[in-house]
Protein backbone atom coordinates (compact mmCIF):
# COMPACT_ATOMS: atom_id res chain seq x y z
CA UNK A 1 0.00 0.00 0.00
CA UNK A 2 1.36 3.46 -0.90
CA UNK A 3 2.56 5.76 1.88
CA UNK A 4 0.29 8.76 2.35
CA UNK A 5 2.44 10.42 4.97
CA UNK A 6 5.98 9.70 5.97
CA UNK A 7 7.96 11.00 8.94
CA UNK A 8 11.65 10.29 8.52
CA UNK A 9 13.83 10.62 11.63
CA UNK A 10 12.34 13.90 12.82
CA UNK A 11 13.74 15.73 15.84
CA UNK A 12 11.84 18.50 17.60
CA UNK A 13 12.71 20.72 20.53
CA UNK A 14 10.86 22.98 22.94
CA UNK A 15 13.61 25.52 23.59
CA UNK A 16 16.66 23.39 24.41
CA UNK A 17 14.64 20.37 25.48
CA UNK A 18 14.39 17.67 22.85
CA UNK A 19 10.86 16.25 22.75
CA UNK A 20 11.01 14.04 19.65
CA UNK A 21 14.02 11.85 18.96
CA UNK A 22 14.43 10.45 15.44
CA UNK A 23 10.74 9.64 15.11
CA UNK A 24 9.94 7.75 11.91
CA UNK A 25 6.43 6.77 10.95
CA UNK A 26 4.68 5.70 7.78
CA UNK A 27 0.96 6.21 7.27
CA UNK A 28 -0.45 4.16 4.42
CA UNK A 29 -3.21 5.22 2.09
CA UNK A 30 -6.62 4.78 3.77
CA UNK A 31 -5.06 3.48 6.95
CA UNK A 32 -5.86 4.38 10.55
CA UNK A 33 -2.57 4.59 12.41
CA UNK A 34 -2.80 5.08 16.14
CA UNK A 35 -0.10 6.76 18.19
CA UNK A 36 -0.31 5.30 21.65
CA UNK A 37 1.60 6.47 24.67
CA UNK A 38 1.46 8.08 28.07
CA UNK A 39 0.86 11.73 28.79
CA UNK A 40 3.87 13.74 27.68
CA UNK A 41 5.24 10.97 25.48
CA UNK A 42 5.33 13.25 22.44
CA UNK A 43 2.21 12.15 20.56
CA UNK A 44 0.66 15.61 20.26
CA UNK A 45 4.05 17.13 19.44
CA UNK A 46 4.34 14.68 16.54
CA UNK A 47 0.98 15.87 15.18
CA UNK A 48 1.97 19.52 15.64
CA UNK A 49 5.25 18.83 13.86
CA UNK A 50 3.33 17.43 10.91
CA UNK A 51 1.20 20.59 10.87
CA UNK A 52 4.26 22.84 11.07
CA UNK A 53 3.12 24.22 14.42
CA UNK A 54 6.27 22.91 16.10
CA UNK A 55 9.51 23.43 14.15
CA UNK A 56 11.28 20.29 12.97
CA UNK A 57 14.98 20.78 13.58
CA UNK A 58 16.06 17.78 11.50
CA UNK A 59 14.39 15.04 9.50
CA UNK A 60 11.66 15.31 6.90
CA UNK A 61 7.91 14.91 6.71
CA UNK A 62 6.45 14.05 3.31
CA UNK A 63 2.89 13.96 2.08
CA UNK A 64 3.23 12.03 -1.16
CA UNK A 65 5.73 14.07 -3.16
CA UNK A 66 5.29 17.22 -1.06
CA UNK A 67 7.81 17.90 1.68
CA UNK A 68 5.72 19.40 4.46
CA UNK A 69 8.75 20.46 6.49
CA UNK A 70 9.58 22.93 3.71
CA UNK A 71 6.17 24.61 3.95
CA UNK A 72 4.95 27.33 6.31
CA UNK A 73 2.31 26.13 8.78
CA UNK A 74 -0.61 27.74 6.95
CA UNK A 75 0.27 25.89 3.72
CA UNK A 76 0.13 22.41 5.30
CA UNK A 77 -3.72 22.19 5.29
CA UNK A 78 -3.70 23.32 1.66
CA UNK A 79 -1.33 20.43 0.91
CA UNK A 80 -3.97 18.04 2.23
CA UNK A 81 -3.54 17.54 5.99
CA UNK A 82 -6.27 18.51 8.48
CA UNK A 83 -5.83 18.57 12.23
CA UNK A 84 -8.42 18.17 14.96
CA UNK A 85 -6.60 19.18 18.14
CA UNK A 86 -7.21 17.87 21.62
CA UNK A 87 -10.02 19.77 23.34
CA UNK A 88 -11.72 20.51 19.96
CA UNK A 89 -10.60 24.15 19.86
CA UNK A 90 -13.74 25.48 18.25
CA UNK A 91 -14.57 29.16 18.00
CA UNK A 92 -16.86 28.90 20.99
CA UNK A 93 -18.73 32.17 20.40
CA UNK A 94 -19.49 31.40 16.77
CA UNK A 95 -22.37 29.24 15.60
CA UNK A 96 -22.01 25.77 14.13
CA UNK A 97 -22.57 27.22 10.64
CA UNK A 98 -19.92 29.90 11.17
CA UNK A 99 -17.37 27.39 12.45
CA UNK A 100 -17.94 25.31 9.33
CA UNK A 101 -17.74 28.43 7.19
CA UNK A 102 -14.26 29.18 8.53
CA UNK A 103 -13.21 25.69 7.48
CA UNK A 104 -14.79 26.13 4.04
CA UNK A 105 -13.34 29.62 3.46
CA UNK A 106 -9.84 28.36 4.20
CA UNK A 107 -9.76 26.38 0.97
CA UNK A 108 -12.45 28.24 -0.97
CA UNK A 109 -14.86 25.32 -0.70
CA UNK A 110 -18.54 25.75 -1.35
CA UNK A 111 -21.93 24.43 -0.40
CA UNK A 112 -21.40 20.98 -1.93
CA UNK A 113 -18.53 20.25 0.45
CA UNK A 114 -20.52 21.57 3.38
CA UNK A 115 -23.47 19.34 2.51
CA UNK A 116 -21.20 16.31 2.13
CA UNK A 117 -19.66 16.99 5.54
CA UNK A 118 -23.04 17.53 7.18
CA UNK A 119 -24.20 14.22 5.72
CA UNK A 120 -21.54 12.58 7.89
CA UNK A 121 -22.79 14.41 10.99
CA UNK A 122 -26.57 14.85 10.62
CA UNK A 123 -26.91 16.15 14.17
CA UNK A 124 -24.95 19.27 13.18
CA UNK A 125 -27.46 20.12 10.47
CA UNK A 126 -30.08 20.47 13.19
CA UNK A 127 -27.80 22.78 15.18
CA UNK A 128 -26.44 25.08 12.48
CA UNK A 129 -27.55 28.26 14.26
CA UNK A 130 -26.53 27.11 17.73
CA UNK A 131 -23.48 28.73 19.32
CA UNK A 132 -20.83 26.02 19.30
CA UNK A 133 -19.78 26.60 22.90
CA UNK A 134 -23.22 25.37 24.01
CA UNK A 135 -23.00 22.02 22.20
CA UNK A 136 -22.41 18.81 24.13
CA UNK A 137 -18.88 17.42 24.21
CA UNK A 138 -19.67 14.82 21.58
CA UNK A 139 -21.32 17.34 19.29
CA UNK A 140 -18.34 19.68 19.69
CA UNK A 141 -16.03 16.82 18.69
CA UNK A 142 -18.18 16.15 15.62
CA UNK A 143 -18.09 19.84 14.72
CA UNK A 144 -14.31 19.93 15.11
CA UNK A 145 -14.03 16.92 12.81
CA UNK A 146 -16.55 18.39 10.38
CA UNK A 147 -14.62 21.67 10.24
CA UNK A 148 -11.44 19.76 9.48
CA UNK A 149 -13.19 17.70 6.79
CA UNK A 150 -14.31 20.93 5.09
CA UNK A 151 -10.67 21.09 3.93
CA UNK A 152 -11.20 17.77 2.08
CA UNK A 153 -7.95 16.35 3.46
CA UNK A 154 -6.02 13.32 2.30
CA UNK A 155 -4.74 12.87 5.83
CA UNK A 156 -6.67 13.56 9.03
CA UNK A 157 -4.90 14.01 12.35
CA UNK A 158 -7.12 13.37 15.39
CA UNK A 159 -5.78 14.15 18.85
CA UNK A 160 -7.66 12.19 21.52
CA UNK A 161 -11.07 12.59 19.85
CA UNK A 162 -12.84 10.32 22.34
CA UNK A 163 -11.53 12.03 25.47
CA UNK A 164 -14.34 12.64 27.96
CA UNK A 165 -17.10 11.35 25.68
CA UNK A 166 -19.88 8.93 26.56
CA UNK A 167 -19.70 5.43 25.00
CA UNK A 168 -22.42 6.05 22.40
CA UNK A 169 -20.60 9.12 21.14
CA UNK A 170 -17.26 7.28 21.09
CA UNK A 171 -18.86 4.61 18.92
CA UNK A 172 -20.17 7.31 16.58
CA UNK A 173 -16.71 8.88 16.24
CA UNK A 174 -15.20 5.46 15.53
CA UNK A 175 -17.80 4.80 12.84
CA UNK A 176 -16.94 8.09 11.21
CA UNK A 177 -13.21 7.36 11.24
CA UNK A 178 -13.84 3.93 9.76
CA UNK A 179 -16.09 5.46 7.10
CA UNK A 180 -13.42 7.99 6.15
CA UNK A 181 -10.85 5.24 5.96
CA UNK A 182 -13.08 3.34 3.56
CA UNK A 183 -13.15 6.45 1.37
CA UNK A 184 -9.37 6.56 1.25
CA UNK A 185 -8.77 9.23 3.89
CA UNK A 186 -5.75 8.23 5.98
CA UNK A 187 -5.97 8.99 9.69
CA UNK A 188 -3.45 9.42 12.46
CA UNK A 189 -5.24 8.88 15.73
CA UNK A 190 -3.63 9.84 19.03
CA UNK A 191 -4.95 8.08 22.11
CA UNK A 192 -3.79 7.14 25.58
CA UNK A 193 -6.02 4.10 26.05
CA UNK A 194 -5.56 0.99 23.99
CA UNK A 195 -9.23 -0.02 24.28
CA UNK A 196 -10.16 3.17 22.50
CA UNK A 197 -8.08 2.32 19.43
CA UNK A 198 -8.31 -1.43 18.95
CA UNK A 199 -11.77 -1.29 17.34
CA UNK A 200 -10.75 1.24 14.70
CA UNK A 201 -6.97 1.22 14.17
CA UNK A 202 -5.10 -0.78 11.52
CA UNK A 203 -1.72 -0.36 13.19
CA UNK A 204 -0.50 1.06 16.46
CA UNK A 205 2.75 2.98 16.94
CA UNK A 206 4.00 3.12 20.51
CA UNK A 207 5.55 6.43 21.53
CA UNK A 208 7.61 6.68 24.69
CA UNK A 209 9.72 9.62 25.85
CA UNK A 210 9.67 11.13 22.38
CA UNK A 211 10.77 7.94 20.62
CA UNK A 212 8.69 5.50 18.61
CA UNK A 213 9.38 2.08 20.06
CA UNK A 214 7.53 -0.20 17.68
CA UNK A 215 4.68 -0.21 15.18
CA UNK A 216 2.45 -3.28 15.27
CA UNK A 217 -0.59 -4.53 13.39
CA UNK A 218 -3.68 -4.31 15.54
CA UNK A 219 -4.40 -8.05 15.06
CA UNK A 220 -1.15 -8.81 16.82
CA UNK A 221 -2.15 -6.65 19.76
CA UNK A 222 -5.53 -8.28 19.97
CA UNK A 223 -3.89 -11.69 19.99
CA UNK A 224 -1.35 -10.71 22.65
CA UNK A 225 -2.59 -7.87 24.91
CA UNK A 226 0.55 -8.18 27.05
CA UNK A 227 2.47 -6.53 24.22
CA UNK A 228 0.89 -3.20 25.15
CA UNK A 229 2.13 -3.45 28.72
CA UNK A 230 5.51 -4.56 27.53
CA UNK A 231 6.03 -1.54 25.29
CA UNK A 232 4.58 1.38 27.16
CA UNK A 233 2.87 0.03 30.24
CA UNK A 234 -0.56 1.33 29.30
CA UNK A 235 -3.80 -0.41 28.65
Amino acid sequence: MAAALELDRINCFYGNVQVLHDVSLTLRQGEVLCLLGRNGAGKTTALKAIMGLVPVRSGTIRLGAVELTALPAHAVPAAGVAYVPQGRRLFAELTVAENLEIGLMARGKGRAVRDAVLALFPVLRERLRQVSGTLSGGEQQMLAMARALCLEPQVLLLDEPTEGLMPAMIARIRETVAGLSARGVSTVLVEQRVDAVLPVADRVAFIENGRNRETLDVERLRADPDLVHRYVGVG
Partner: protein, 320 residues
Amino acid sequence: MRTDGLARIVALHLGLVLLLLALNWLLPEYHRGVFSRILVLAVFAMGYNVMFGYTGLLSLGHAMFFAAGLYGAGLTVYHLGWPAPAGFAAGLAAGLALALAVGVLALRTTGVAFMIVTLMFAQVIYLLTLYFTTYTRGEEGLVLAPEDRFIALPGAVLDPTDPSTRYLLALALFAAALAATVAIVRAPFGRTLVAIRENEERMRMLGYDVFANKLAAVAVSGVLCAAAGAAYALLFGYVGAGFASIQYSILPLLWVLLGGAATTLGPIVGTLAMFYVVDVTSGYTSAYLLVVGLALILLILYFPRGLVGTLRERWLPWLP
Protein backbone atom coordinates in the same frame (compact mmCIF):
# COMPACT_ATOMS: atom_id res chain seq x y z
CA MET B 1 -21.13 34.56 6.43
CA ARG B 2 -24.14 35.76 8.39
CA THR B 3 -27.02 36.43 6.06
CA ASP B 4 -29.59 37.19 8.73
CA GLY B 5 -30.36 40.75 9.75
CA LEU B 6 -28.84 42.37 6.65
CA ALA B 7 -31.91 44.53 6.01
CA ARG B 8 -31.98 45.98 9.52
CA ILE B 9 -28.22 46.47 9.55
CA VAL B 10 -28.45 48.46 6.31
CA ALA B 11 -31.48 50.35 7.63
CA LEU B 12 -29.72 51.24 10.88
CA HIS B 13 -26.55 52.51 9.21
CA LEU B 14 -28.40 54.31 6.45
CA GLY B 15 -30.72 55.82 9.03
CA LEU B 16 -27.75 57.14 10.99
CA VAL B 17 -26.26 58.73 7.88
CA LEU B 18 -29.61 60.33 6.99
CA LEU B 19 -29.99 61.63 10.55
CA LEU B 20 -26.51 63.14 10.38
CA LEU B 21 -27.41 64.66 7.01
CA ALA B 22 -30.49 66.29 8.53
CA LEU B 23 -28.36 67.68 11.35
CA ASN B 24 -26.59 69.87 8.79
CA TRP B 25 -29.70 72.04 8.75
CA LEU B 26 -30.79 71.48 12.35
CA LEU B 27 -27.64 72.02 14.38
CA PRO B 28 -26.57 75.46 15.58
CA GLU B 29 -23.44 76.80 13.90
CA TYR B 30 -21.10 75.92 16.78
CA HIS B 31 -22.29 72.36 17.09
CA ARG B 32 -22.21 71.84 13.34
CA GLY B 33 -18.52 72.73 13.45
CA VAL B 34 -17.94 70.32 16.33
CA PHE B 35 -19.81 67.59 14.47
CA SER B 36 -17.70 68.15 11.33
CA ARG B 37 -14.60 67.51 13.40
CA ILE B 38 -16.18 64.50 15.14
CA LEU B 39 -17.18 62.91 11.82
CA VAL B 40 -13.62 63.12 10.50
CA LEU B 41 -12.09 61.87 13.74
CA ALA B 42 -14.66 59.05 13.89
CA VAL B 43 -13.16 57.80 10.62
CA PHE B 44 -9.79 57.79 12.41
CA ALA B 45 -11.42 55.73 15.19
CA MET B 46 -12.98 53.38 12.60
CA GLY B 47 -9.55 52.72 11.16
CA TYR B 48 -8.23 52.03 14.63
CA ASN B 49 -11.19 49.72 15.28
CA VAL B 50 -10.37 47.52 12.26
CA MET B 51 -7.00 46.73 13.81
CA PHE B 52 -7.80 46.79 17.51
CA GLY B 53 -11.44 45.77 17.67
CA TYR B 54 -11.70 43.23 14.88
CA THR B 55 -8.13 41.93 14.57
CA GLY B 56 -7.07 42.23 18.20
CA LEU B 57 -3.91 44.22 17.45
CA LEU B 58 -3.45 46.86 20.13
CA SER B 59 -1.44 49.68 18.57
CA LEU B 60 -0.11 52.62 20.53
CA GLY B 61 1.08 54.42 17.43
CA HIS B 62 -1.90 55.13 15.22
CA ALA B 63 -1.19 58.85 15.21
CA MET B 64 1.45 58.04 12.58
CA PHE B 65 -1.19 56.91 10.08
CA PHE B 66 -3.34 59.96 10.75
CA ALA B 67 -0.22 62.10 10.38
CA ALA B 68 0.73 60.31 7.14
CA GLY B 69 -2.58 61.37 5.64
CA LEU B 70 -2.41 64.82 7.18
CA TYR B 71 1.10 65.56 5.91
CA GLY B 72 0.64 63.59 2.67
CA ALA B 73 -2.21 65.94 1.77
CA GLY B 74 -0.92 69.06 3.51
CA LEU B 75 2.63 69.08 2.16
CA THR B 76 1.64 68.33 -1.42
CA VAL B 77 -1.00 71.04 -1.41
CA TYR B 78 1.09 73.59 0.48
CA HIS B 79 4.50 73.09 -1.15
CA LEU B 80 3.73 71.50 -4.50
CA GLY B 81 0.51 73.32 -5.24
CA TRP B 82 -1.39 70.11 -5.91
CA PRO B 83 -5.17 70.43 -6.14
CA ALA B 84 -7.07 69.22 -3.07
CA PRO B 85 -8.28 65.88 -4.55
CA ALA B 86 -4.73 65.01 -5.62
CA GLY B 87 -3.52 65.98 -2.15
CA PHE B 88 -6.15 63.71 -0.63
CA ALA B 89 -4.97 60.83 -2.84
CA ALA B 90 -1.37 61.56 -1.80
CA GLY B 91 -2.47 61.32 1.83
CA LEU B 92 -4.07 57.93 1.21
CA ALA B 93 -0.98 56.68 -0.62
CA ALA B 94 1.27 57.87 2.22
CA GLY B 95 -0.93 56.08 4.75
CA LEU B 96 -0.93 52.86 2.74
CA ALA B 97 2.84 52.90 2.20
CA LEU B 98 3.51 53.60 5.87
CA ALA B 99 1.01 50.94 7.01
CA LEU B 100 2.64 48.29 4.81
CA ALA B 101 6.16 49.24 5.91
CA VAL B 102 5.27 49.37 9.61
CA GLY B 103 3.07 46.28 9.34
CA VAL B 104 5.77 44.10 7.77
CA LEU B 105 8.12 44.94 10.64
CA ALA B 106 5.76 45.32 13.60
CA LEU B 107 3.76 42.15 12.88
CA ARG B 108 6.86 40.11 13.66
CA THR B 109 5.99 40.90 17.26
CA THR B 110 2.87 40.30 19.33
CA GLY B 111 1.23 41.60 22.51
CA VAL B 112 3.17 44.12 24.55
CA ALA B 113 6.08 44.08 22.10
CA PHE B 114 3.69 45.04 19.28
CA MET B 115 2.41 47.97 21.35
CA ILE B 116 5.94 49.17 22.03
CA VAL B 117 7.06 48.77 18.41
CA THR B 118 4.07 50.73 17.07
CA LEU B 119 4.65 53.42 19.71
CA MET B 120 8.29 53.58 18.66
CA PHE B 121 7.44 53.97 14.97
CA ALA B 122 4.92 56.70 15.80
CA GLN B 123 7.53 58.56 17.80
CA VAL B 124 9.89 58.35 14.80
CA ILE B 125 7.21 59.92 12.59
CA TYR B 126 6.49 62.58 15.22
CA LEU B 127 10.17 63.45 15.54
CA LEU B 128 10.51 63.55 11.75
CA THR B 129 7.76 66.18 11.58
CA LEU B 130 9.81 68.23 14.04
CA TYR B 131 13.16 67.47 12.40
CA PHE B 132 12.02 68.63 8.95
CA THR B 133 10.64 71.82 10.40
CA THR B 134 11.73 73.73 7.28
CA TYR B 135 8.92 71.99 5.44
CA THR B 136 6.49 71.17 8.23
CA ARG B 137 7.01 74.17 10.53
CA GLY B 138 6.94 71.72 13.43
CA GLU B 139 4.50 72.33 16.27
CA GLU B 140 3.46 75.65 14.78
CA GLY B 141 2.32 73.82 11.67
CA LEU B 142 1.12 74.88 8.26
CA VAL B 143 -2.07 76.71 7.46
CA LEU B 144 -3.48 75.84 4.06
CA ALA B 145 -4.94 78.79 2.20
CA PRO B 146 -8.71 78.52 1.62
CA GLU B 147 -8.37 78.72 -2.18
CA ASP B 148 -5.85 75.83 -2.13
CA ARG B 149 -8.46 73.64 -0.47
CA PHE B 150 -11.20 74.18 -3.05
CA ILE B 151 -12.42 71.00 -4.70
CA ALA B 152 -13.14 71.52 -8.39
CA LEU B 153 -15.89 69.31 -9.76
CA PRO B 154 -17.40 69.42 -13.25
CA GLY B 155 -19.67 72.44 -13.11
CA ALA B 156 -19.07 73.29 -9.46
CA VAL B 157 -16.39 74.19 -6.95
CA LEU B 158 -16.75 72.98 -3.37
CA ASP B 159 -15.43 75.34 -0.74
CA PRO B 160 -14.49 73.48 2.49
CA THR B 161 -14.29 76.77 4.37
CA ASP B 162 -18.07 77.04 4.09
CA PRO B 163 -19.44 75.36 7.27
CA SER B 164 -22.24 73.52 5.48
CA THR B 165 -19.98 72.27 2.68
CA ARG B 166 -17.37 71.21 5.21
CA TYR B 167 -19.98 69.32 7.22
CA LEU B 168 -21.32 67.57 4.12
CA LEU B 169 -17.83 66.63 2.92
CA ALA B 170 -17.01 65.26 6.39
CA LEU B 171 -20.28 63.32 6.33
CA ALA B 172 -19.51 61.93 2.86
CA LEU B 173 -16.16 60.66 4.11
CA PHE B 174 -17.79 59.23 7.23
CA ALA B 175 -20.53 57.50 5.23
CA ALA B 176 -17.99 55.98 2.84
CA ALA B 177 -15.82 54.75 5.72
CA LEU B 178 -18.87 53.36 7.54
CA ALA B 179 -20.02 51.51 4.42
CA ALA B 180 -16.52 50.15 3.89
CA THR B 181 -16.30 48.99 7.51
CA VAL B 182 -19.68 47.25 7.40
CA ALA B 183 -18.76 45.57 4.11
CA ILE B 184 -15.40 44.41 5.49
CA VAL B 185 -16.87 43.15 8.74
CA ARG B 186 -19.53 41.10 6.96
CA ALA B 187 -17.18 39.79 4.29
CA PRO B 188 -15.14 36.59 4.74
CA PHE B 189 -12.10 38.83 5.30
CA GLY B 190 -13.74 40.43 8.33
CA ARG B 191 -14.73 37.04 9.74
CA THR B 192 -11.18 35.85 9.22
CA LEU B 193 -9.84 38.82 11.19
CA VAL B 194 -12.21 38.12 14.08
CA ALA B 195 -11.22 34.45 14.09
CA ILE B 196 -7.53 35.44 14.08
CA ARG B 197 -8.22 37.73 17.03
CA GLU B 198 -9.80 34.79 18.86
CA ASN B 199 -7.01 32.32 18.14
CA GLU B 200 -4.18 32.71 15.66
CA GLU B 201 -2.85 29.18 15.94
CA ARG B 202 -6.27 27.69 15.34
CA MET B 203 -6.52 29.69 12.12
CA ARG B 204 -3.02 28.72 11.04
CA MET B 205 -3.84 25.04 11.46
CA LEU B 206 -6.95 25.56 9.34
CA GLY B 207 -4.73 26.87 6.57
CA TYR B 208 -5.03 30.64 6.92
CA ASP B 209 -2.03 32.85 6.26
CA VAL B 210 -2.31 34.78 9.51
CA PHE B 211 0.50 37.20 8.73
CA ALA B 212 -0.96 38.17 5.34
CA ASN B 213 -4.41 38.72 6.81
CA LYS B 214 -3.04 40.81 9.67
CA LEU B 215 -0.96 42.85 7.25
CA ALA B 216 -4.07 43.47 5.16
CA ALA B 217 -5.86 44.62 8.34
CA VAL B 218 -3.02 47.03 9.12
CA ALA B 219 -3.20 48.34 5.54
CA VAL B 220 -6.98 48.89 5.69
CA SER B 221 -6.62 50.52 9.09
CA GLY B 222 -3.76 52.72 7.92
CA VAL B 223 -5.66 53.88 4.83
CA LEU B 224 -8.80 54.74 6.84
CA CYS B 225 -6.75 56.69 9.40
CA ALA B 226 -4.84 58.43 6.61
CA ALA B 227 -8.14 59.33 4.91
CA ALA B 228 -9.19 60.99 8.16
CA GLY B 229 -5.85 62.81 8.39
CA ALA B 230 -5.96 64.00 4.77
CA ALA B 231 -9.56 65.14 5.14
CA TYR B 232 -8.68 66.97 8.35
CA ALA B 233 -5.92 68.89 6.59
CA LEU B 234 -8.16 69.85 3.67
CA LEU B 235 -11.36 70.58 5.61
CA PHE B 236 -9.83 72.48 8.51
CA GLY B 237 -6.75 73.83 6.78
CA TYR B 238 -4.26 73.08 9.53
CA VAL B 239 -1.36 70.61 9.48
CA GLY B 240 0.62 70.44 12.74
CA ALA B 241 2.98 68.07 14.51
CA GLY B 242 0.59 67.85 17.47
CA PHE B 243 -1.51 65.41 15.42
CA ALA B 244 1.47 63.03 15.25
CA SER B 245 2.02 63.08 19.02
CA ILE B 246 1.30 60.26 21.45
CA GLN B 247 -1.94 61.95 22.47
CA TYR B 248 -3.40 61.21 19.04
CA SER B 249 -2.38 57.58 19.39
CA ILE B 250 -4.21 57.24 22.70
CA LEU B 251 -7.37 59.13 21.69
CA PRO B 252 -8.64 56.65 19.08
CA LEU B 253 -8.09 53.84 21.58
CA LEU B 254 -10.25 55.70 24.13
CA TRP B 255 -12.91 56.53 21.54
CA VAL B 256 -13.13 52.90 20.44
CA LEU B 257 -13.15 51.53 24.00
CA LEU B 258 -15.82 54.03 24.98
CA GLY B 259 -18.03 53.33 21.97
CA GLY B 260 -17.40 49.60 21.78
CA ALA B 261 -14.53 47.74 20.17
CA ALA B 262 -15.45 45.50 17.25
CA THR B 263 -18.72 47.30 16.61
CA THR B 264 -19.27 49.33 13.46
CA LEU B 265 -21.01 52.16 15.30
CA GLY B 266 -18.78 52.19 18.38
CA PRO B 267 -16.21 54.60 16.90
CA ILE B 268 -18.71 57.38 16.09
CA VAL B 269 -20.56 56.92 19.39
CA GLY B 270 -17.31 56.92 21.38
CA THR B 271 -15.87 59.93 19.58
CA LEU B 272 -19.11 61.85 19.96
CA ALA B 273 -19.46 61.00 23.66
CA MET B 274 -15.86 61.88 24.49
CA PHE B 275 -15.99 65.17 22.58
CA TYR B 276 -19.13 66.30 24.35
CA VAL B 277 -18.04 65.14 27.81
CA VAL B 278 -14.92 67.28 27.36
CA ASP B 279 -16.90 70.13 25.78
CA VAL B 280 -19.53 70.27 28.54
CA THR B 281 -17.24 69.70 31.53
CA SER B 282 -14.62 72.18 30.36
CA GLY B 283 -17.37 74.83 30.46
CA TYR B 284 -17.70 74.34 34.22
CA THR B 285 -14.22 73.63 35.51
CA SER B 286 -10.59 73.82 34.46
CA ALA B 287 -10.18 70.37 36.07
CA TYR B 288 -12.38 68.87 33.37
CA LEU B 289 -9.99 66.00 32.73
CA LEU B 290 -10.75 64.78 36.25
CA VAL B 291 -14.43 64.64 35.33
CA VAL B 292 -13.60 62.93 32.05
CA GLY B 293 -11.56 60.35 33.98
CA LEU B 294 -14.44 59.72 36.38
CA ALA B 295 -16.87 59.38 33.50
CA LEU B 296 -14.57 56.83 31.86
CA ILE B 297 -14.26 54.83 35.08
CA LEU B 298 -18.05 54.74 35.45
CA LEU B 299 -18.44 53.68 31.84
CA ILE B 300 -15.91 50.89 32.25
CA LEU B 301 -17.71 49.71 35.40
CA TYR B 302 -21.18 49.71 33.89
CA PHE B 303 -20.45 49.34 30.16
CA PRO B 304 -17.33 47.17 30.08
CA ARG B 305 -17.75 46.47 26.38
CA GLY B 306 -18.32 50.11 25.52
CA LEU B 307 -21.67 51.77 24.84
CA VAL B 308 -22.56 50.00 21.60
CA GLY B 309 -20.77 46.81 22.65
CA THR B 310 -22.90 46.56 25.79
CA LEU B 311 -26.04 47.32 23.80
CA ARG B 312 -25.15 44.45 21.49
CA GLU B 313 -24.36 42.12 24.35
CA ARG B 314 -27.55 42.78 26.27
CA TRP B 315 -30.24 43.66 23.79
CA LEU B 316 -29.19 43.81 20.13
CA PRO B 317 -27.08 40.76 19.27
CA TRP B 318 -27.54 41.40 15.55
CA LEU B 319 -25.45 44.61 15.62
CA PRO B 320 -22.31 44.17 13.51
